[in-house]
Symmetry: C2
DNA sequence: CGCCGGTGTTCGTCAAGCCGAACAAGGAGA
DNA sequence: TCTCCTTGTTCGGCTTGACGAACACCGGCG
């Protein structure tokens, strides 16, 4: 994660988002319930807003809070070839023959291309708090989800469940495959 | 996006993350360069911290800024069956035969299962600022990426590029398929 | 028991964010 | 041009966040 000072980012983001929505400084301040002088100072880079102030602006601008403070992503292409992927040992993952497809450092999510063969269900313990897992089946059938309440999924089915508590994966057909997105916020 | 007051969330998140890292209140305040009295009031729910204060804490705790202000996700399973998916008309998307696999309302990303046939490259215009696109090829070959600098991808290859400026998709082989994740923050 | 190093809390002071009003600047129209 | 309205900017004041010190609390130890 980029750790440059958020104040300069806030100044740029506020002006950019305000102009994107097409609001005037006066009108945005009125809707957010803050003084337009405050908003003016924020957009000029001076000031260190409180969370409540910035929150009110994010609500009116209808943007995620983090977009106002986190600098925008780098404008380049990053490629991870199939041959460069990291192979997770099967004893460290809840699915057999797992391949990590891509997990760029500093990113908010990992993209896994996983495969599995029929066998006993394998359990995954809780990841760090706030993690969400997304499963999109591309081949075969899977039974996956939170421990105690897994769902059965066929090709093209999608499931989404919290990854910060115990959950299970189980391939039901040979050569079952799926894309797994682990989202960290 | 949830729009409940962030102050209560901040209080809970700070204490949770601090205990996760295993720091004392005194030590965390010292490392972050803030008064421990300030941190104490924040964890008790009183107070409305400035961005600089919260930022310093997020850096030391090594968590994304948004995890401190956004409430945690709901702890349930959400399933979207293949038959329930939304079909995007081909004239609205830059790839032929596109299927939207999953885009839960309020989420920070969309998960698309896309297919394409050889033909002219199709252009996608810029989405909302801050969007990042992730492409994981599951069949065939694609040439995709920012306009002017696309990359060629085979099965298993992964590419990541900004979605908030013009970019292109082009299937190079029949029955090419890929998973596309559009991340909004 | 008395002392100590540690926890997290409350209190008074100072600085700074937030506010409202007053301000200069740029059009649109009569 | 003169006026009126709206744009965004600066200027005192009040409010509040941030700070440091002093505080109460707990567990270990001689």
């Amino acid at each position: 994660m980029d750790r440059t000072s958020p104040l300069a980012t806030i100044a740029l983001s506020l002006r950019r988002e305000r102009e994107r929505v097409g609001l005037t400084l006066t009108e945005l301040a009125r809707r957010a319930g803050i003084a337009k002088s405050t908003l003016s100072q924020l957009e000029s880079g001076a000031g260190n807003p409180s969370v409540e102030t910035l929150w009110a602006l994010a609500v009116v601008l209808d943007v995620p809070f983090s977009r106002l403070v986190d600098p925008p992503s780098a404008p380049s292409v990053q490629v991870v070839r199939a041959s460069e992927r990291i192979v997770i040992p099967s004893d460290q993952a809840p699915f057999t023959g797992t391949l990590v497809a891509a997990c760029p450092p500093g990113a908010r999510r990992d993209l896994h291309l996983i495969t599995g063969e029929p066998g006993p269900a394998r359990d995954a313990h809780a990841h760090i708090p706030g993690t969400t897992e997304h499963l999109l089946v591309t081949a075969g059938r899977w039974r996956a989800g939170p421990a105690g309440a897994p769902v059965e999924l066929g090709v093209g089915d999608y499931a989404r469940f919290p990854g910060d508590r115990p959950h299970t994966y189980e391939a039901l057909e040979p050569a079952s495959a799926a894309v797994l997105v682990m989202e960290y916020v």
